[in-house]
Symmetry: C2
Subunit: 235 residues, 2 copies
């Protein structure tokens, strides 16, 4: 691995990176079911990408399937996990202890995968001192000092639009490597900090689009049927 | 519009649909700032896609910019909103009143855009009868009847993995047009129901990938610097 992986990673496009967690989820399910190997065609039927897309994506990092054998599920899971950096541990803080902050803190799911929530920071004095899923809620005033002292890797912004940029500034100043932003506003961070914005509504809008398309299709089909019935009646 | 739009929509790829909400967000910000028009180059600098990608995406549905003028911000917002179906109203129910369900219910944000939460459904008797952001929490037993009577368009699953499929079955049976699924499990729905799965962790994994790449780059740069320093010392 080592340098080879680094070189290969350079070429992987952002679009492929966005697909890797999905590949990994399906592979983990296969692993749970005791499946050892899978062909690109079988994988295609399962995950919904074309077999050629799958081969192209996985070839990006040397996950070559063998002709007539397919992919080794466990090797592929390990390789993808390695590329995503999930073989490492990350220390995180959450800023904002509203419902969303609490929901994120409760996703025990993350802990299993090496993402540890160290603390939650909040302005509301009634929440400070509480424990959410065994994680202490601290005063927002202590954020910078805590991140510096505890070498936090990732800051999670679960606050309002109005406060997001200030929080991002504090987190960046204190030395986080990445920010996971749930506030519905685009924020700016220094070059050395990685920013990932989560826009939950985007997928709601995509849902609305597909619902509308379905409705239009149904309507067109109904109109066509009505027109045909009218034509038949005329004849 | 009418048939033209329908025909045009047929051609729009899923990848473009996923980008439209992002275009819309930026255009709404421009509108707020009183900007009337924007060129593809200016838009590119703002949103981070190439100018040619922007022209290609927007040409998909007839959002043609004029040479030497650019795009009319308001027309483009309206056109994108229309394509996404955001000029219509949607009635939604949330199933699961944990932190995530409550967080979604509190996003007043959606209401402004025609997504109305009619009710939240929950098994826990202590929560039933409560009001979250003026929305009543009802017993899960009443879900099917409520959806049928109130002609709910979208069901939002904010429950655990174990219950997600059962909830999806009930929602589909009761007649929703779409399901927005936050449970971290892939569920199956009938053909006439649109499913949008939200995998929040995927973007955390993408963040982990970029953090690692940054760290590797820093490490390589440091090693190179050290090697050069050693070489200089030898000379």
């Amino acid at each position: 691995m080592g340098e080879v992986t680094i070189k290969d990673n350079e070429k992987i496009s952002n679009a492929v990176i966005k697909r890797l967690p999905r590949y990994r989820r399906y592979l983990l399910e296969l692993q749970k079911k005791g499946v050892d190997k899978i062909s690109s065609n079988e994988f295609s039927a399962l995950i919904g990408y074309t077999a050629s897309q799958i081969r192209q994506d996985l070839n990006n990092f040397g996950g070559f399937g063998q002709q007539g054998y397919g992919y080794n599920v466990t090797s592929l899971v390990n390789e993808i996990s390695g590329i995503l950096g999930l073989d490492k541990a990350y220390k995180m803080v959450i800023v904002g202890c509203g419902n969303l902050g609490q929901a994120i803190a409760s996703y025990t799911h993350y802990y299993k995968q090496g993402f540890e929530v160290q603390s939650i920071f909040e302005i509301n004095p009634r929440l400070i001192g509480m424990r959410i899923n065994d994680v202490e809620v601290r005063s927002y005033d202590e954020l910078v000092e805590f991140v510096e002292e505890n070498k936090t890797d990732i800051g999670i912004i679960c606050a309002t639009k109005a406060n997001a940029q200030e929080i991002a500034d504090k987190l960046s100043f204190a030395g986080v490597k990445g920010i996971w932003n749930f506030a519905t506003v685009d924020i700016e961070v220094p070059e050395f900090v990685v920013l990932e914005n989560v826009h939950i509504s985007d997928s709601l809008y995509a849902l609305a689009y597909h619902i509308n398309r379905n409705e239009k299709k149904k309507q067109l089909a109904a109109e066509k049927k009505a027109a045909e019935a009218a034509k038949t009646a005329e004849e």
